[in-house]
Amino acid sequence: MTVITTSRSTSEQQEVSKDDSMLKQKAMMAKHFDRLTSARENGEKVCSTFVPGNLNELIMCFDFANNLPEVNAIQNGLRKKSGSYVMEAEKLGHSEDVCTYVKSDVGMMAKGNLAPNGKPFPDPDLLLLSYTGCFTFMKWFELLREQYKCETIMLHTPYEGDGKITDNMREYMVKQLKEDVIPTLERVSGVKFDIDRLRENLRRSAKAEDDLVYVLQTGRNRPSPIDAYFGGIYYIGPIFGAYRGTDDAIDYYKTLREEVDGRLAAGQGPVTPDGVMETEKYRLVVEGPPNYTSFRDFWKMFYEEGAVVVASSYTKVGGVYDFGFRHDPDNPLETLADYCLGVYTNRSLPQRVDMLVNYVNEYEADGLLINSIKSCNSFSAGQLLIMREVEKRTGKPAAFVESDLVDPRYFSAANIKNRLESYFQMVDQKRDGSAKGAAA
């Protein structure tokens, strides 16, 4: 069932359509932040870690509350708070070109470190840096270590430069888990590691992952019952965050799957903030994160034109599941290694190209759109090459827009709209071919 609620944001007082799963997800997010901000009074310890390479199943084995700084930055972006945080960080000496997730986090800490529920985040007891391709994460945790003077673990994931995971890589990671990561987690938490507990968590993860993949792959249908980018951001929330490996996640993805199945059966399109999308005119694959400070305006530019994102790479940054990987309870440490090795951020350019080409073909998309992030040096590099290669291999048109993650100054609505409209019309022209678009 789709209900209409009123947005909490004071600047956006219009009625907004939300699915049951979205409401459920919202409640889960609230619970997550409540747990974090009450950690001290509940005697819980806090571990900070990142979304790509997030070892939630393992963290849960030690009863840590899991704090994810990118998720906080995204929340601050969506809640229009990141702009002032970014500026605060600049005041503290961070340059304009630094990753705005980092600056939003640094600025938030400087301005009271308040969670979306208005209560302060507790200082972390542990920083678990699972490095999966983004070098900025390392620098970010260096800053956090300096700030909190707490213990830090670095789990190094070798880059998939040759496009495959070797036994050597896996062994290297398992060794780190056994010799460094798990002993430190035990020491800081005071909880003894129980591998059976990890297996149970992994079993729950795999169950939720099955449903997530099912949902994301419904984008292959016409019309697609989901938007795999803007809607997809909501769908990945629980599994990329502190809920993977929990019963809550299993429930959420079951609800989501039923909901999407309902839309599929009814031949309906995705639910947008303005209601169910009636006509699917363009099917796109999108590469790159969205802009969070103008998230709804950005989304509107798509659905108003009848554009649906049928697959996206961003919904794979916290784990690539659609090519068969599932967390495997029978090989608990090896599966954690494989998970980290396979996340989108740890994949080479040719692998990213292969994935995107596969999406354009498998999901019968009209083309590829790249939203390149100004302050993301790691992943914006090579995106033009990716675009050309995908164009060449699929024969479908591609386009490039630029914005930023959570810095509102880098979202130029008129320019982006202009480019998107041009792109959609270009798709029309291509589709019509010489029959209508160009035959004089």
């Binding site: 100004k374 033009l384 050309r388 164009e391 048109p397 591609a398 386009a399 490039f400 827009v401 630029e402 880098y410 130029s412 008129a414 320019n415 202009n418 480019r419 409209e421 041009s422 019309q425 270009m426 022209q429 291509k430 071919g433 010489s434 209508k436 678009g437 160009a438 035959a439 004089a440």
Partner: protein, 437 residues
């Protein structure tokens, strides 16, 4: 006659192109966008209709008065000048009436009659000048009413006010209040009347051309009598969203520039358009379909406005920049194409003793270097390469482009149409034709 209209609502100017049923351009019109796209659209369209009437007159005179032959251009330019004079006087009269209505209130207390008399004298003088201004060989500062009337009004009013012992600022005040109103007023639709009055003048000189006045009159009247039916209109450019066009009447300027360039030069594969506030690199296929594009993002550095700003900083006219840069003996290296930094950079170089022309050459190179980066991101330059937009008129920019294209891509045929400013509107009009045919 069926016509198809394309309107390009640019940030600086608004352009219109009228195509006939055979996709032949019969009229083009341009006006300043004046922050009022509604009026700009009407004016540009009207200008294109005027141009279309002249095309029809040309066709009719060519067919019916063959003896005009090689004097046809001269003859037609007289007809157009006569029309422009009529149009100018009509707007002058409107400006005078509007100015008179502003002469009220405390500020003018006791001076109403005196100001009224000065205004009457000023406008009589202006009307008197119109004849010479629109005579063959007459000189006008610009093609836009505001520019022509404005500068003369201010000069004449200053002298007249002094002689009449009326404060000049009162005259300035009424003008400032009136010009925007007049400029934004929908133009008079009485095109035929003005053409007919102009025709009477032209007919008088017909014997000089060795043609029969009655035949000429008949031919021109037949051209004026052709019904121009607007079958379909397509709008493009930045202002398009502000107009009450429905979606199917709007095309992005990327597509319009791509198609317009293809119509002008069918072998075009790469298009560079440098307009007022954006620079576009567009790749098109052999049918004119856009394959890829890149634009400047978040920042209008190195676009047409940059040159406008430089011209202001140097107290020069925009059209004077290119010719001065052509006189350069060397090119000063300019790193910033930021419009806001341009002034500082300029003054810094002047302070270092660099010559104005050398600095300007450097500025032009900087613009083209930025454009080259945008083109390369869109996929590079393929043969043939068509350069469009207002900056394509600038010879110094074209020189730098030639050099850099050769350096980076070797021998490539570069097309620049004298009417390249109309490329987007031409593409839009072509889309309009295709929507129906």
């Amino acid at each position: 006659m069926r016509t198809f209209v394309g309107i390009d609502l640019g940030s600086t100017t608004t352009k219109a192109v009228l195509l006939d049923d055979n996709s032949v351009i019969i009229g083009r019109g341009i006006t300043n966008s004046r922050s009022n796209y509604d009026t700009a659209t009407r004016v540009a369209k009207l200008e294109a209709m005027i141009d279309a009437r002249l095309t029809l007159c040309r066709r009719a005179l060519g067919a019916d008065v063959p003896e005009l032959a090689d004097k046809l251009d001269d003859f037609l330019s007289r007809l157009e000048l006569g029309f422009r004079r009529e149009q100018f006087v009509e707007q002058l009269n409107d400006l005078e009436q509007t100015c008179l209505q502003q002469v009220s209130g405390k500020r003018f207390a006791g001076l109403e009659d005196a100001v009224g008399e000065v205004l009457a004298q000023v406008f009589n003088t202006l009307r008197g000048e119109a004849t010479a201004m629109f005579a063959p060989g007459g000189r006008r500062k610009s093609d836009f009413f505001r520019d022509i009337a404005g500068s003369r009004y201010l000069n004449i009013a200053e002298d007249t006010a002094r002689d009449a012992d009326v404060p000049y600022d009162l005259l300035l005040n009424v003008y400032d209040k009136s010009i925007i109103e007049v400029e934004n007023r929908p133009p008079s639709e009485d095109m035929s009347g003005k053409f007919l009055r102009a025709l009477q003048e032209v007919v008088k000189v017909a014997p000089e051309f060795g043609v029969d006045p009655a035949t000429v009159e008949r031919a021109v009247k037949s051209a004026l009598g052709v019904d121009l039916e607007e079958v379909y209109l397509v709008g493009t450019g930045y202002g398009r969203v502000t107009l009450p066009f429905s979606k199917e009447h709007i095309r992005s300027e990327i597509l319009c520039h791509g198609l317009g360039a293809h119509v002008m030069y069918p072998a075009t594969r790469t298009v560079l358009d440098i307009g007022g506030q954006d620079t576009k690199g567009i790749q098109v296929d052999p049918e004119g379909i856009v394959e890829n594009f890149q634009m400047n993002d978040r920042c209008a550095a190195g676009c047409g406005r940059y040159l406008g700003y430089i011209a202001d900083e140097m107290n020069m006219g925009l059209h004077e920049l290119g010719p001065l840069a052509m006189k350069a003996t060397r090119s000063v290296r300019i790193n910033s194409t930021c419009t806001v930094f341009a002034g500082a950079e300029l003054r810094d170089r002047l302070a270092l003793g660099e010559k104005r022309e050398d600095i300007l050459a450097g500025l032009h190179r900087a613009i083209i270097l930025r454009a080259m980066s945008i083109i390369s991101r869109s996929g590079g330059i393929r043969d043939e390469f068509t350069f469009t937009g207002g900056v394509a008129k600038n010879e110094a920019a074209v020189r730098e482009l030639d050099l850099l294209v050769k350096e980076n891509y070797g021998e490539v045929k570069i097309n620049i149409d004298p009417g390249s400013i109309y490329t987007g509107a031409l593409g839009a009009a072509t889309f309009a034709g295709r929507a129906v045919n």
